[in-house]
């Protein structure tokens, strides 16, 4: 009896919503359309992504909502634990009845969510989890699964193209010998393995040494740095976290290691990194930099709106990614004009969205997955305390400083 | 042969050192079947160490322990308990999270390998023998005498052939001590050989067939109490300690 009542009520609500939709398209009203986002809220990446999502929701609703109905993003914390991440999907699906799943951060958590996601097979657009070995292949057959963050190997592939283009413009830049200092966890090791497979294909040499990230209680890099110094690389890259950034540079300076190119690839940077004199000339990989606001309107809009809304600067690229995440799904539904899942998925595949990370987001096939969003990260460089974009050249905000300035000449 | 059969436990040149300190040196003792042997000596003479070595808490540094004709020097404590060597402790060691009956049961359960119902029966019998009542009381509510009796009962529930009582009379009144002595005599009556460490000489005099005097880890004298108590060396050892 109860069930029937609920179903009837739902039908009436849908009917009501339909009538409301036909009658008055603006502003958003009626029964909300819900997206469910799973993010680690205790971490700054998840916290800022969730805020950026709320920002997008606010804008979308102000502009008429989704199908004229208000959009709601229900956010669930995964606590960076697999089981909590999976339970969050169950909650969003059954308690909140969300239409689509968005969000995402760590691959480790996402691995445990794959079975639940498969169970619901709702449109899922993920902004995190870049580890191809454990995510890409298992999700290859799922038409409803969209992955926006570039896979680990795509990132590495992007760097190859990027550095080649930079070197073509500046013949001083040498790329023959690389040394990778990588953190010993999943993030660093998978990254290093990508370099080990792709670098020799370019005829470039690569070697590496692991270290324990400060995030895991490490913070001693001198052994890895000394090995790098002995190797005399053209470029030294470290795959670690934000907590490793400055201590790593301080220790590099300490042992007198200043390669022609020094690159970092943490997912975020400490807030005050740019203030340190050691930061000057450090190259980095990332999806996004505040300086993009100089060359991209969407970026500028996002930057201003986020600052205004939350009184803080977006410090990680997961903020613009979260913002993009909501827009992409909302746009697809609005384009289709209904919640028909197959059509919405088709529309998602057709996505053309000018995202705040710079590029226009389109969906292409990656190695195994049909629905891959971004395919590369950017090459950036710290200059006078600001991250400038060096590559892709379309978004260039500065010329590369090369070689990396000596420690005592800054 | 006859002699051997008469002796249930004996030590041969038993020594025990702790981190270079000597606690027992070359101790030779014999415990005869059905006898009550007293072990006396000033504090620190090695009495408790002797019991600890005999029951297997520590292995001897040198020497052998022969029990019923077999060398048991290398056997661990729980095996010695199973083959019939039981003891009580100088400072009572009740198992605080168990009741009175359960305390007594442990011996029957593990040394005799009885099932729980059998052990309950056995323990109740032993407690009855010892005059213990209210068997479901937690040990925290027991009197000093009851705890002492409980310790004896726990030892008896292992069906021992030898019972070693370490200062059983300490901390109980003289009337209670008389009651305890009666019980000990009854236990001997069941054919159990008993080894008593005691400071209360009245008890030693009344109870024992024979005493061994230890001093500085050595055997100082041996014989019936009446004889030994007049031994000048023994008197000196005690007085020396007092002086």
């Amino acid at each position: 009896m109860m069930k029937k009542g609920i179903i009837l009520a739902c039908i009436f609500m849908f009917l009501g919503a339909g009538i409301a939709l036909a009658a008055a398209p603006k502003p958003a009203s009626g029964d909300p359309i819900k997206f469910g986002a799973v993010l680690p809220l205790a971490d700054i990446t998840g916290k800022q992504a969730s805020r950026a999502m709320q920002l997008a929701v606010k804008e979308i609703n102000a502009a008429g909502g989704v199908l004229g109905r208000p959009l709601v993003v229900v956010i669930a914390d995964d606590e960076m634990k697999g089981e909590k991440g999976a339970a969050a999907i169950d909650k969003l699906a059954t308690v909140d009845n969300v239409y689509a799943f968005i969000g995402g951060m760590s691959s480790g958590v996402h691995m445990a969510q794959l079975p639940v996601l498969k169970k619901y097979a709702k449109p899922t657009v993920w902004i995190g989890a870049a580890a191809s070995s454990v995510i890409e292949a298992p999700m290859a057959e799922q038409a409803w699964y969209f992955h926006l963050h570039p896979w680990d190997y795509q990132q590495v592939g992007g760097y190859i193209t990027g550095f080649k283009e930079l070197a073509a413009k500046n013949p001083l830049i040498k790329l023959q010998k690389w040394f990778i200092g990588y953190e010993e966890g999943a993030f660093g090791t998978t990254g290093y393995k990508g370099f080990q497979t792709l670098w020799p294909q370019q005829g470039w040499e690569v070697s590496g040494a692991s270290f324990k990230s400060a995030l895991m209680g490490g913070g001693e890099y001198r052994a890895a740095l000394r090995q790098a110094k002995d190797y005399k690389p053209d470029a030294y890259l470290w795959l670690g976290y934000d907590a490793d950034a400055l201590p790593m540079l301080e220790q590099a300076k300490e042992i007198g290691f200043a390669p022609p190119m020094l690159i970092g690839a943490p997912p975020g940077w400490p807030a005050d990194f740019g203030k340190s004199p050691l930061a000057e000339g450090v190259s980095l990989f990332g999806m996004w930099a505040p300086s993009l606001k100089e060359v991209s309107k969407v970026s500028k809009h996002f930057w201003d709106a986020y600052n205004k809304e939350f009184n803080e600067a977006p410090a990680t690229y997961f903020a613009p990614l979260g913002y993009t995440n909501v827009y992409v799904v909302a746009n697809a539904i609005n384009k289709v004009g209904s919640l028909d899942q197959d059509k919405v998925i088709a529309a998602l595949k057709d996505t053309k969205y000018d995202s705040p990370v710079g590029e226009t987001l389109t969906i292409t096939a990656s190695r195994a997955l049909k629905n891959q969003g971004f395919t590369k990260q950017k090459i950036l460089q710290w200059k006078k305390g600001v991250q400038q974009v060096l590559w892709p050249l379309d978004f260039k905000t500065a010329e590369p400083a090369y070689p990396f300035p000596a420690w005592d000449k800054r | 042969m006859d002699m051997q059969d008469n002796v249930i436990l004996k030590t041969e040149k038993l020594s025990r050192h702790f981190w270079g300190l000597v606690a027992l040196t070359q101790v030779d003792i014999e415990l005869k079947r059905g006898e009550i042997l007293g072990i006396i000596g000033p504090n620190g003479a090695g009495k408790t160490t002797l019991i600890n070595v005999l029951t297997g808490l520590f292995p001897p540094t040198e020497g052998r322990i022969i029990y019923e004709g077999k060398d048991i020097s290398a056997l661990p404590a729980h095996i010695r308990s199973r083959i019939g060597i039981a003891r009580t402790f100088q400072i009572s060691r009740p198992l605080v999270d168990l009741t009175l009956l359960e305390n007594v049961m442990t011996g029957a359960l593990f040394a005799r390998g009885l099932t729980c119902p059998q052990a309950i029966k056995k323990a109740s019998d032993v407690c009855g023998f010892m005059g213990l009542q209210d068997l479901d009381k937690p040990v925290s509510k027991l009197t000093a005498l009851e705890i002492k009796k409980m310790e004896v009962a726990r030892a008896l529930s292992t069906d021992p052939k030898i019972l070693m009582l370490d200062e059983l009379m300490a901390g109980i009144s003289s009337d209670e001590a008389d009651e305890m002595m009666d019980l000990i005599n009854k236990i001997r009556g069941q054919g159990i050989s008993i080894c008593v460490i005691e400071h209360v000489m009245r008890v030693i005099a009344a109870l024992t067939d024979r005493v061994i005097v230890l001093d500085w880890g050595r055997t100082l004298a041996e014989g019936p109490y009446a004889e030994v108590s007049h031994n000048p060396m023994v008197i000196k050892a005690y007085l020396g300690e007092d002086a």
Partner: protein, 306 residues
């Protein structure tokens, strides 16, 4: 009295077993997560009853998970067999560790168990990718029962039942007397004919097998393993907190503690998305300060007064 007790237990059992018929997916999922932690908490407590403190739940949890997953990957046999295999492997490994270390006591044994968990993690992370998936881990083709929540619930409930039954056996049989003697006074225990080392090894192996069982079920349910997640220290600490909160050395203490902390975590998260863990920490502090014997201690006090 006894009939009453049996009736209550039967009613509880039926209610728990039939939960999937009238509970939503999310609640069911939350409950079986809590049940997994509950099993870990009870098994941890079972070792504690013998006087040994373990910080190594995560290690055995992870070993069980890895063993199950690797068997699944290499043979693709029935996941239930893999779960069993995971449990057995955890048991075997704990047997070796127990034989080597169970002469230690107190924090020395505790540290060894902690170190053991870390050592497993480092070894698994450094093994070739083709074996353990290295630092990234392994994803299975599918979760057990294709992710069906009801059957998953029954699986976890079954594991919890096994744990509870074993825990009750620990409390009601001769094992109870052995471990209580060992905990209270090892010298008395020896003198009562208890082979302490043997008992400790047996109990360590049983509780470790249970922890491996939960870990193996966990990986089959979520279809994946990776060294950082499956050996995460929170699998050691959270069950410990649950058991202490509920009241140690009983079956129902850890059960209550797991329910309280598990549900509190889940609801606080809804009330206070950012930083609810601070409340969680405060709950722990307040309970220790005001209910030193845990919630079970409070219940006992209240019922004794009547």
């Amino acid at each position: 009295m006894k009939i009453w007790k049996a009736f209550v237990i039967a009613a509880l059992f039926l209610a728990a077993a039939s939960l999937p018929f009238y509970t939503g997916t999310y609640l069911l999922h939350t409950i079986y997560i809590i049940m997994m932690y509950m099993s870990l908490a009870i098994s941890w407590d079972m070792l504690l009853r013998a006087g040994q403190l373990s910080f190594g739940i995560a290690g055995l949890f992870g070993i069980g998970g890895y063993a199950a997953t690797m068997l699944q990957v290499f043979t693709n046999i029935n996941p239930l067999i893999c779960i069993l295999f995971g449990a057995i492997m955890a048991g075997l490994i704990s047997l070796l560790i127990g034989l080597a270390t169970l002469r230690l006591r107190g924090i020395y044994f505790a540290i060894i168990t902690l170190a053991m968990a870390e050592i497993f993690r480092v070894i698994i992370r450094n093994l070739p990718d083709t074996w353990t998936g290295g630092a990234m881990g392994i994803v299975l083709n599918n979760a057990i029962f294709n992710g069906d929540v009801k059957q998953t619930y029954w699986l976890v409930f079954g594991i919890l039942l096994i744990t509870i039954v074993l825990s009750e056996v620990f409390n009601k049989s001769r094992i109870h007397f052995a471990i209580t003697s060992i905990r209270n006074d090892e010298i008395v225990a020896m003198s009562s004919g208890i082979d302490i080392f043997k008992w400790l090894v047996v109990i360590f192996v049983i509780t470790s097998t249970l922890q491996g069982l939960v870990g193996a079920a966990y990986t089959e349910i979520y279809g994946s393993v990776n060294p950082d997640a499956n050996f995460s220290v929170h699998y050691s600490l959270l069950p410990l907190a649950m058991a202490l909160l509920g009241g140690i050395r009983s079956t129902w203490g850890p059960v209550i503690g797991a329910i309280v902390l598990g549900l509190a975590g889940e609801y606080l998260k809804l009330l206070m998305p950012y930083g609810y863990l601070i409340i969680y920490g405060l709950i722990i502090i307040l309970v220790i300060l005001f209910l030193p014997d845990g919630i079970m201690g409070l219940i006992k006090k209240l019922t004794q007064k009547k």
